[in-house]
Symmetry: D3
Subunit: 324 residues, 6 copies
């Protein structure tokens, strides 16, 4: 794929010619009865609205112009009231094979994947309990498919860390806080906490689809990420001879209970200090990320972000300055 | 163990000499400062209060007189205000080995176990779908330990079918209703429904303990019966080459969703007609059993049973007579 | 009314000339400031959008072009992106008297009305208890107005069985399941159950309006169908000399409690086995119908139906094939 | 029945000889194994514990000594730690016919019944709307049984106005406030409000039993007071030729919706200003009465009443003095 | 500011030339790609849509055309389907200084401000308790800023009394009802009730912004009106030597608890009769006003108002006529 | 006060002679009709039941023997079934002045008060923001009464840290975790977080009474600790010239919102990252303490603690051993 400018950098009057991901596709009828095409097109830097006023300019099969496919488009950049738009002259469906690196078209974690995987490996290697370390190695180090998916998946469809790499970034952030918490509350078993943190959302690699748009897989809708990761943990444990049954239950318990309440999809409540901790730190990390992101992303003038459906409130944007 | 009369048949003035299960044990102090022992003793026919006014009559180690052990007792039957009591003369701890058939000391299903197992086998054999039938055979026919536990476990600790064999009796009753429902709603897949029904509570064999009193096992409290049976289904599926992945998800979905709501411990909501049906029929069967039992068991004079905490209401006892 | 093609069968390029029901009417202003008319028009086979770009083409009084009236329209069929539309040339208000059989303009049960009424009569005639049978005869056989309304009304405004005849179809389906349940649970009084099933929603004939669009009547909004049918049952009972008071209470209890919970509009909880059963089977039948219909109606490509607000979830569409 | 002192006035050392109502009856076994009888006995002034240490002192059939019967007792008054008790020497069952005026044995409204009935009649006579006045006359003036029951019933089993005459006292108090509210909010229809107030709880005359202890009748448990009064209103309306249907719905609507929320047993929400007002004033009056009574009745030293389960809180007892 | 007609009185074909408040401002793109401006403009009598099809007609800086500013506009009145619109020829930003009396642009209480302030003063002067009177004088009589704000603020952003002067109008209405209630329930302390009523919402003067549109201030969002008024009461009390601590707590308690439930933002439940009364009358007054207004404002034909999100229901509009 | 042994160390057969705190006092009647006294007596090491069988052994006024007073008692230690009891020979009321150090009679934090105060001072001194540091100094360093109460109060009546010094211990623990969290999430303002943590529960010094038993003060019940501390913060701020209004709101916001939900008594939701963090860490610390304490305190044999009403669950006691 040839070089092309990022959407975020486009200026009024420029011509854009390149590949974009179609996030929304709508054939509409104008007040005069003529049909036109309204699109939401995206690359990793952002998205914009695009309009094709004459459908005859579509090359190839019109039915291929659908959500979640790549398109090759050419058009003029205009800027109305602060929002950039594209008025298209040409458009055609593009094969995935024409696109080199998909990550150029999706929001992606600011942390480099390699750095995050290295941090993951160090966390696993630092586990003192041999049973727990072996379990984590089997899943995160020795299973290349799972490792790759764990590094790529987003943490959620819409709540927090909604970008490629978000799952691993979120997991590592919770692990960092958990490490500090175990130093603060010395009665906690750090290795057990760490196992719970690293495994608590690993099923999201299969619950979500994130090849193009972020959504739920069929298995995700039918059984959910908690049941998936419980299955995977049971499979890994079965491959470790003499793995202690009590430890299996303790690890599963953290994973199963980490949503904290039955009505949030956990079939059991946290009943050990380690499970309680993982629930709180996971919840806190997701909500803090959502809050910080909303504050950062809101370029509006007022003191308040738009209403967040995730947290059911607006956030106050002004930050009290730190004294260095 | 020698023959002994059932507690339910004791008459005032008789002497009872035999083995009983201690359900409650309390050492109390009388108003005069002397210590005595108050017990709740049971066999399968019922239970009664027993008093030992002189602790020196205990043979052997007093500390062994504890809940959930068998005791050898001798005493006089008295009858105060309609309730039978025992005034004990002698008491000693009894080894389990002195007791022959435990079932003489626990409430047990009115349906013979053999009859129920035969019905189970016929249900499994009648499944037309080869994948589903194979899965059910592996679990209920070819796993003798699970089969035995499935025939012995109660269905719950306190809600409904709270007696040995209650789990199988409840399961078969739901299966019977499910069979009729599939005839009524022809769009339902009967084999899939049947798999869901037979598997929906099988994890209770390990969630509950029922060797003596009915309670929750550690694993039951930590991960719950739904996660257990999901694990077992995954294990069984893994032993059937080429088992269709979609079918695995559909069966797991029924099992995971059968409590109907997240706040009742199901991590997902029923999203297929078969899952919806299994949830309703399971719930209905348990509640009807609880209601019928409360009406049958209440010998009181009024028109209403005692308040049922399970259903949060009293039940109306008078039955409108059927016209033959 | 002359013959006219069904909306569902229209092809692009054809001219449609006939009567249609106006479900939605909106006068809108185009971006150029000219006014146009956007309509949703329906017959029993479906509905489509229609546009009139020149309001001068309206014959007669423009104010009569309103929701829930019939219109005579002439226009060209077009097909944009898979959805059929009408571009109107002519339009006028039509008197009800111009329309012969209203049922051609509303969704209607697939079961013939006569067949359903015959099944209802057989159910009533099969009741062995003379008091119950007399009550049902008075309401469903000897009151021609109620009988006609019962055969015509939908079962709900938006939840399930939302079509003419839906109330009777739903009632008979629940009765069929109830019959099977009474065979399965022999302690149930079948005649009492049947009375409860047949009467549980009869008030919907007056709670809903269904002459044109489906909505709530004033009385429906002010007192609700449960209070209406309680009133009618009391009136019918008053016409049967010596009707047993206890039986009146038992029948009313099923009707009043059939929503199962206070927050769903039942002033009392089900406190008899018969009332519990009717609640469950009514709820199950409505939800299964909604689920099957959503699966059948969704022609989309994905594995999931659109989000159902009634059940607060999406449904999984693929059906595991039955083994014949 | 001969004169006898009130329980509240008994002094230590006196002998009591008279009739009392048995509220609780328990045959108990002492630590020494002898059986004794513990009673809670009451007249309208209060209640006390009584003990019979020798069951042979019971005259007649011991089984007749049961809750909710009258007893003839003789015993000595003692006073332990501030609470008066009776040590009985003699006890026998008493026929209802031996008791003259039952009201001497139950808590009763401080307002004389005649005064309250006169106020009720004036309220009815003051209604200007002829339809509404006729409806109220039929129920409260011309139906002597209902009028008598309305004057005698308590307002509730345990929440507020729990004494004979409490229903009428509560109803008149709400009517008084409603009168003031209609003067304050002139848009309200006072006659309609008054009809709603007077009828809103009239079904409690049959929902509750209050011949001896206060409890729910079978009909009360099965259909509830709201459905009963709706039935009675419909019956009365049927006896008034040409009663306007809209008015019938408006009156029924107030009655059906007066609990304010579905989860409190109202099948519909208040949707007219009059219905909204009646709900608020009814709720306020009951809660204020419960609060004032708790403050008055609590002779304890602290600043707080015992926890009220009705309002889920304690009340603050000190009253800020009024400036005359 | 020169005279100009009220929006409500405009007729089709007239030319409007004057100042209006911009409530909504949207720059849109027509189907043909040209940009236009869509506005919602308001004065105190109402609002209407306005369109500017040629952006070059904007005088001055286009960025000043924003929500909550005044605009000087000239345009033609048109009337489409019953709704009045403006087609603008000229438009420019207007300085606040060009506007004389802001109240001509906002909905305002029908009660004159002076009349309401006089009633407030009489209420304060009529308080017999010297401590309470002094507290109320300090806040409502001697603090001119607070007094002015109290007379100007609306009672809420969207629930009830949403117009300038609404806070005082609502407060006085509750005070009137409270006065009547204290006459009806003589155990209530009228002075304490009055203090609670007058102070219960005074914090809304700072919680809301109402210079132009009605919204929440930063402080309103961060700490809420209840905490603000608690602060002000504490400040005023601090200025009254020897103010009784118990009275301070009793007044604060009414204010803090007046939302009635924790989930509605009250940190404590009403635990005194006075607090309970203020909660009920406040809630009733707001809901009645919302209901009466919805009924008055709805000019539609049906019997029901639009769905009210505040009360989660529709209201029945027909009023049963009063008998004079 | 002379030396006396701790209750926890008493052995059967010993004589105890000393002062104890009366937690519960009940005059009871034995089955034989004689009155006796049953007490729950405590020192800081624990509590036990005590019985006085002959009330004539009470010296002085019997009415002074009441809950929450000190008693001088003499009696014999007995040991029934594992529980230590006292059979009293002598008992009298004791003046507070006879008791030297009250802390010998109440559960007390394991952390020395001086050490905790020093840690508090270091935290305050380490605040870089001069406004925040000044506010904290005014309250915690320069107000000796508040400082002393802050060091002495328990953190709650029954939920967590229920012992003298518990409030400060809990506050410091949350501060420690908050410090670590601010290092982990560098966008957080540490000084603001610290202010929120130190102030979030300071009102409990006046909400609770803890001179003898732990309970709520009148002010605590009427306005709650959150409103108290908001008042105190406002008072302190008023003493700091030019304190920034925005900072006042930000600090108050953390304090007001720290319960996290309205239904838990916070009048506003956390809307800044700092407020969100303080809520989570406060909640986590309290629940972890309750869980660890329940596990430590439960000497029973099973794997599960008693049911915790605070967390609505049992906790799993076995701890997976740490690898050193």
């Amino acid at each position: 794929m040839p070089e092309q400018p990022e959407l975020r950098s486009l200026k009024e009057g420029e011509t854009f010619n390149g590949f974009l991901l179609a996030q929304e596709v709508a054939f509409k009828t104008s007040a005069k009865g003529s049909e036109y095409l309204e699109l939401k097109l995206a690359d990793a830097s952002g998205d914009l609205k695009a309009f094709l006023w004459d459908l005859r300019a579509i090359e190839g099969d019109m039915d291929q112009i659908a959500p979640d496919v790549f398109l090759r488009v050419k058009g003029q950049v205009s800027n109305y009231n602060g929002r950039t738009q594209l008025r298209l002259d040409k458009i055609r469906f593009a094969q995935d094979s024409e696109i080199g690196d998909f990550s150029r078209f999706f929001p992606t974690s600011r942390r480099p994947q390699e750095e995050m995987l290295k941090e993951l490996d160090e966390l696993v290697a630092g586990v003192g309990d041999p049973w727990i370390r072996r379990l984590l190695e089997l899943m995160f180090v020795e299973d290349p498919l799972l490792r790759a998916a764990f590094a790529k998946a987003p943490a959620a469809k819409s709540m927090h860390h909604v970008y490629l790499g978000g799952l691993l970034e979120h997991t590592l952030s919770v692990a960092g806080m958990a490490d500090r918490a175990c130093a603060h509350y010395p009665e906690l078993n750090r290795d057990l906490v760490l196992a719970g943190v690293l495994l608590h959302d690993v099923g999201k690699t299969a619950e979500l689809t994130y090849q193009r748009s972020f959504s739920y897989s069929d298995a995700g809708n039918l059984i959910g990420h908690i049941s998936m990761e419980a299955d995977w943990i049971n499979q890994a444990v079965a491959r470790i001879p003499d793995f202690p049954e009590q430890l299996r239950l303790l690890v599963l318990h953290i994973v199963l209970s980490h949503h904290g309440k039955l009505e949030f999809g956990s079939p059991v409540l946290p009943k050990t200090p380690e499970a309680l901790l993982v629930h709180y730190l996971d919840d806190l990390d997701g909500k803090l990320e959502a809050m910080f992101r909303a504050i950062r992303d809101d370029a509006g003038q007022g003191a308040w972000t738009p209403f967040s459906r995730t947290l059911d409130r607006m956030f106050y944007k002004p930050r009290w300055p730190k004294i260095p």
